[in-house]
Amino acid sequence: MERINEKDKVICIFKGNMDTVACRELETELVQMLNHCKADNLPLVLDLAEVDYIASSFLRICIMSAQQLGKENVNIVNVTHQVKKVFKMAGLSDDLSVS
């Protein structure tokens, strides 16, 4: 995961398969990042342009982020059509901002 701290937002760029193992490895970093966003009142952008597969753990990361920062402050962007379908099938497209 690549993290870019901009003045008005934090961008996370994910790559490859976001499976259970990959998500577990990111756990600590993600918690820190969420704390940073919360403290500085910054929105979070999750960029999935280069993600081919997501596991349940990644859905949980998205839900947790939205719960902590508010739906309007978490934007999941550049999803492939395959990943978009996963969010849709999981019934999360109303709870998360996915584009």
Binding site: I54, A55, M89
Partner: protein
């Protein structure tokens, strides 16, 4: 229908997420999971059989081992090479390609008669089709089903299956079950069990594959190999003490061979009941108010049933046979009883036999299974065409024959469709192929005859159907 409880909401949200994740897997990844679960199930066949027999008090653990084998090894062999993900067929002639899509979360209702085998069977066909499955077990079989789920789920996760691809629905109230069944997040109910649970599934508004009850007549035609027939029927009707819904319920025997057949049955441990003894068995085996078998006798041995009825039968008795004159609720042994109890009718010939089998077939067993022992191909065919049954078994023990894979090439299954007569959508042995949405990609292939036909003729009232057909097909 009430609001879904927290428990139901949690289960369905997890199942829905799992369905979404599962949809990303390809055939190879899917098959790896199915293989792992099949192996784990087969490895635990004895442990789970013993648990099921002990917890439910129904049937014999040795026979439950065989059921677990059918549910894993036989089912796996029948589905392992099936294409169930992505493009599954391409026909260049028609321009149609078929694409298999998962259907979504499935709720599986598990009966107490075949608990662990039904869990493993339904889990395998669900995973093969990339569908998460929620297991709701009969209250008499909770622990053995919980263990079967645990074994399957751990194996699935080890093979990189999505989280929550198998969920055990625990501690749910009746209200929870109703709400779960009718929730729009659920894709399908795979209902195996008593009439009430199947009816509830069909009434829920969610698509359901249910199974009707059986009442299997067996026609012993005069050309049958009588000792062979007697042997096969004993093998079948005593299997797991008669708990399979495809087990024989009535014997319809031609007079010419009736005495010989009776003696062959007796020599193998059948006990023929007197009229008084029939009444005694009816009193404990049939609830005359509910018009159904009593739970107490289901899966009990013949000796135990006789004891319950206060009868003395010879040691080693394997089957209780009740000679009857007619069919109906006034003759309770003509109804389905999942225990080693069977009705016996003597008839004059083919016509009488088939008519009686129709009565039995329509007395609570429409669409399920019938059986014939004969070596007259013409009579076998006539019998088959007259009966309303998804499975017409020839010279075969019906318990093991109907589930397929052992005595014939029927699809191995523990969910036997009974067609519209049994209020089911299919008469098939339900398997993986019933758990897919098949999309058809149709490429442009214009009907050439239409191109050459003057379509303005459709608007001419003087041109009739025959002329349209002639012109439409001209030079073709």
């Amino acid at each position: 229908m009430g609001e879904a409880s927290e428990l139901v909401n949690d289960i369905l949200n997890r199942a829905l997420a799992s369905a979404a994740i599962f949809s990303q897997l390809n055939q190879k990844q899917t098959d790896k999971i199915v293989n792992a679960v099949y192996e784990a199930g087969l490895n635990n066949r004895i442990k789970l059989a013993k648990m099921a027999a002990e917890e439910t008090g129904i049937g014999k653990w040795e026979d439950k081992v065989i059921k677990n084998v059918v549910a894993t090894q036989y089912v796996y062999e029948s589905i392992r090479n099936q294409k169930t993900a992505g493009i599954i067929s391409e026909d260049f002639e028609s321009g149609i390609s078929e694409i298999a899509q998962p259907i979504g979360p499935i709720l599986a209702i598990i009966p107490c008669t075949n608990p662990t085998s039904t869990v493993m069977f339904k889990v395998l066909i669900a995973l093969k089709t990339r569908n998460p499955i929620i297991i709701s077990a009969h209250h008499r079989a909770l622990e053995c089903c919980r263990e079967a789920v645990k074994i399957c789920y751990e194996a699935a996760l080890e093979a990189d299956a999505p989280e929550d691809c198998i969920i055990f629905f625990d501690r749910g109230s009746r209200e929870d079950t109703r709400n779960l069944m009718s929730d729009k997040r659920l894709a399908l109910i795979l209902a195996t069990g008593g009439e009430s649970v199947v009816k509830a599934a069909y009434s829920s508004g969610t698509p359901a594959l249910g199974v009707g009850s059986g009442n299997v007549p067996v026609y012993i035609e005069k050309t049958a190999d009588i000792p062979f027939a007697a042997e096969q029927i004993l093998i079948s009707k005593t299997f797991d003490n008669g708990t399979i819904c495809a087990s024989e319920q009535s014997l319809v025997v031609e007079r010419k061979v009736s005495e010989l057949f009776k003696n062959e049955l007796i020599s193998r441990g059948a006990y023929f009941l007197s009229d008084d003894e029939i009444t005694a068995v009816e009193n404990i085996a049939f609830n005359k108010e509910k018009l159904t078998m009593t739970a107490e006798v289901v899966g009990q041995s013949a000796v135990r049933v006789a004891e319950m009825a206060g009868l003395k039968v010879p040691p080693g008795t394997r089957l209780l046979v009740g000679p009857l004159k007619n069919v109906g609720y006034e003759y309770p042994l003509s109804c389905e009883i999942l225990a080693p109890i069977i009705a016996f009718y003597t008839v004059d010939g083919f016509e009488d036999a088939v008519k009686l089998c129709i009565d039995l077939n329509f007395h609570g067993g429409i669409g399920h299974t019938v059986s014939i022992y004969s070596n007259d191909e013409e009579k076998i065919k006539q019998f088959a065409m007259t009966m309303n049954a998804g499975r017409i078994l020839v010279n075969t023990p019906s318990s093991q024959g109907a589930v397929g894979g052992i005595y014939n090439k029927l699809t191995p299954s523990l969910t036997l469709g009974c067609g519209t007569g049994g209020k089911n959508i299919t008469m098939d042995n339900v398997s993986a192929r019933h758990l897919l949405n098949i999309q058809r990609l149709a490429r442009r292939k214009i009907n050439e005859r239409m191109e050459h036909f003057n379509s303005s003729l459709y608007f001419n009232e003087n041109i009739d159907a025959k002329e349209i057909e002639r012109l439409f097909n001209i030079n073709h």
